[in-house]
């Protein structure tokens, strides 16, 4: 395999995409609309509910006493500000704690920053960079306690947003691939291309590669924009930046590329059967079905039950990709293209 030839084809295709206003609109408008609009739709209501919930916890702490650089043990404290304090066997209510260490203590309605905790209980508190006794971050920027159902709903909404963003790497290839394969067929430019020394596989890699690169660039940009919008919207209420969380990282790095690949390869198969770009795009629309399945999963909260479901789903998509690749390789042969492609 000569990768340089695939790169030449990919570069040519990207140059053609840049000159195609429909492709450019798809690459720019759809990701921007989805990544900016959807966070408002899905996160703002949750935000509002969280804000109400936060009011109940009452973290508007009024300080009446302050401790700095001391060791405190077997004490009950309220409305205190503690800085560089070592706490042991203490009960704290409505306190602001910073740069401190605590063991065998109970915190309720506190704002705890940059502190190390061991063998302690925390209720209805806002946490920032909390470490264990060994210095490992155990809870980072998170509101602990409050309304558990609301927290679960918030996680589901983040996953729903993730699923909707996964539409981007699926939908962009239906447009780009149809222009790349069907367009080339309609333009009758495949014959001179196939007469060059490039192998069928190198050509498939080059053409798919160009679509993958532009689709994933738009996808990752959308993820970045979307996560930033969510973080900007939620941080004032939650007190931390919730995205990207572990589900999003798997989604961005595994699921999105897997779905993108599925979309590209399916479009190769579709291209062999149709000779109209619009027909190809319409048939390519069936690719939203696996996303719909994923969407239903995400609404049930199934995906929030640890990383296993999303990892398994990603692996399933890659397995399906393997099958479609095998079919595509059978279809994407010189003779098939020239003689049997419609």
């Amino acid at each position: 395999m000569r990768l340089d030839r695939s790169i030449v084809v990919a570069k040519k295709d990207i140059a053609e995409f840049r000159k195609n206003k429909y492709i450019m609109m798809t690459l720019l408008v759809m990701p921007i609309v989805i990544s900016v609009m959807l966070p408002f739709v899905y996160v703002l209501p949750i935000n509002e509910l969280s804000r109400q919930n936060a009011t109940k916890v009452d973290l508007d702490i009024s300080i009446v006493v302050q401790y700095t650089d001391v060791s405190l043990s077997n004490m009950t404290l309220s409305n205190a500000k503690l800085e560089d304090v070592e706490l042991e066997n203490c009960v704290l209510y409505s306190c602001v704690v910073g740069n401190s260490t605590a063991s065998k203590s109970v915190f309720t309605g506190c704002d705890i920053n940059l502190s190390a905790m061991s063998d302690s209980l925390i209720y209805g508190s806002r946490l920032h960079q909390i470490r264990d006794a060994g210095g490992n971050t155990i809870r980072d920027s998170e509101f602990v306690g409050g309304n558990k159902e609301l927290d679960d709903l918030k996680d589901i909404m983040f996953n729903v947003l993730l699923v909707l963003l996964i539409m981007i790497p699926v939908m962009i290839p239906t447009v780009t691939a149809s222009y790349s394969f069907v367009g080339e067929k309609m333009n009758k430019s495949l014959e001179p291309l196939l007469a060059t020394p490039i192998t069928d596989f190198e050509l498939l890699v080059g053409k798919s590669g160009s679509i993958f690169v532009v689709s994933m660039a738009a996808t990752w940009l959308s993820f970045a924009i979307s996560a930033s919008v969510v973080d900007l919207l939620t941080e004032p209420v939650l007190g931390y930046y919730p995205l990207p969380n572990q589900y999003w990282i798997v989604g961005i790095l595994l699921l999105a590329p897997g779905m993108c690949l599925m979309s590209i390869l399916t479009n190769v198969l579709i291209s062999s059967k149709v000779n109209d770009v619009r027909v190809s795009q319409q048939i390519g629309g069936v690719l939203v079905l696996p996303i719909l399945m994923f969407f239903i999963f995400s609404l049930t909260g199934f995906l929030s039950k640890g990383l296993a479901p999303i990892l398994l789903f990603s692996l399933l998509i890659f397995a399906v990709d393997g099958g479609i690749l095998w079919l595509s390789l059978k279809t994407f042969r010189r003779e098939e293209i020239l003689v049997k492609w419609k």
Partner: protein, 308 residues
């Protein structure tokens, strides 16, 4: 340089090409003539290793078609102009050519020089940066021809190189092909334009699924029509037909528009005898010439259009 041995191809039981035997020498301009559906494009596609054969084989510069690794070698030494230009319309002429030159692995400096040389030769240098979509049909065809030559291939297959071109563009293309064939390159042309093939090609094959005849235009005319001497007299030739017919070496003699037409196996040897006989019989000869048979006459006889 190129040889087909019993080459054949069927599509779902339908014969497109069968038992095709051709031999094309290095540096030769070879024309393949035939009606629509005669298998010309299928032949070119097989020779360029675009589709496989179902019988026989062929060798291009010693490499066997559709057999790895030979097929890859063949693709790197041949250039192809298909029936449709198949250019990337949104890209400029130079980008189109650059893309193909890169695919063929032409080094950057040589690539630039070659593209400039070809575009200047085809009078398109000034418009090289404009998108191909803005070009006329003739200009697109010229770019497609330049693309077939961009990697300086040893053999070039041209499928209808002047199809759809206006006379001026056709002349430019013909001059271009004549110039490039002069570089010792083998050129294989599929065409319906008999006069063009006659002008450009050293040898011709007429095919209709299989090869019906191969040779130079003159050889084919002689082979299928014989040679005919035309004698124009002062006055009608009718009075002297019988005089000529009595000569032992004359097999067929007739008159057309008052001229005497004599079919001969060797006009250079027999013409002096005929002239002497006619002169003795009192005929006044104005001039003697040879009847030129066009390639079209040969083609129509071979393909089944009947004698003309």
């Amino acid at each position: 340089m190129l040889e087909t041995v019993g080459l054949g191809r069927t599509f779902d039981g339908k014969v497109a090409v069968e038992n095709l035997n051709l031999k094309v020498d290095e540096g030769e301009v070879f024309g393949l003539l035939g009606p629509n559906g005669a298998g010309k494009t299928t032949t070119i596609r097989m020779l360029c290793c675009l589709i496989g054969q179902t019988s026989g084989t062929a060798y291009v510069n010693g490499f066997e078609i559709n057999k790895e690794p030979d097929a890859g070698q063949i693709r790197s030494i041949v250039g192809l102009l298909p029936e449709s230009p198949g250019l990337y319309e949104s890209l400029s002429a130079s980008k189109n050519l650059e893309f193909y030159a890169e695919l063929y692995g032409v080094p950057k400096d040589r690539r630039e020089r070659r593209i400039e040389e070809l575009l200047k030769m085809l009078e398109l240098w000034d418009r090289r940066e404009e998108p191909v979509a803005t070009y006329s049909k003739g200009m697109k065809q010229k770019i497609a021809i330049a693309r077939a030559f961009v990697h300086s291939p040893q053999i070039v297959f041209l499928d209808e190189p002047t199809a759809g071109l206006d006379p001026q563009a056709s002349i430019t293309v013909r001059e271009f092909l004549t110039r490039l064939s002069g570089e010792g390159r083998t050129i294989f042309i599929n065409s319906h334009h008999l006069d063009e093939v006659e002008r450009l090609c050293d040898r011709i094959a007429v095919m209709n699924r299989t090869s019906l005849a191969v040779g130079s235009p003159r050889e084919l005319a002689t082979r299928y029509w014989g040679r005919t001497t035309v004698i124009e007299l002062t006055g009608s030739g009718e009075d002297y037909v019988e005089v000529v017919r009595r000569l032992s070496f004359v097999s067929n003699v007739r008159t057309e528009d008052g001229k005497i037409l004599v079919d001969l196996d060797d006009p250079e040897l027999r013409n002096p005898g005929i002239i002497e006989t006619l002169t003795k019989a009192g005929a006044k000869i104005e001039y003697v010439s040879e009847l030129k048979r066009s390639l079209e006459d040969v083609y129509m006889r071979l393909i089944g259009g009947g004698p003309r």
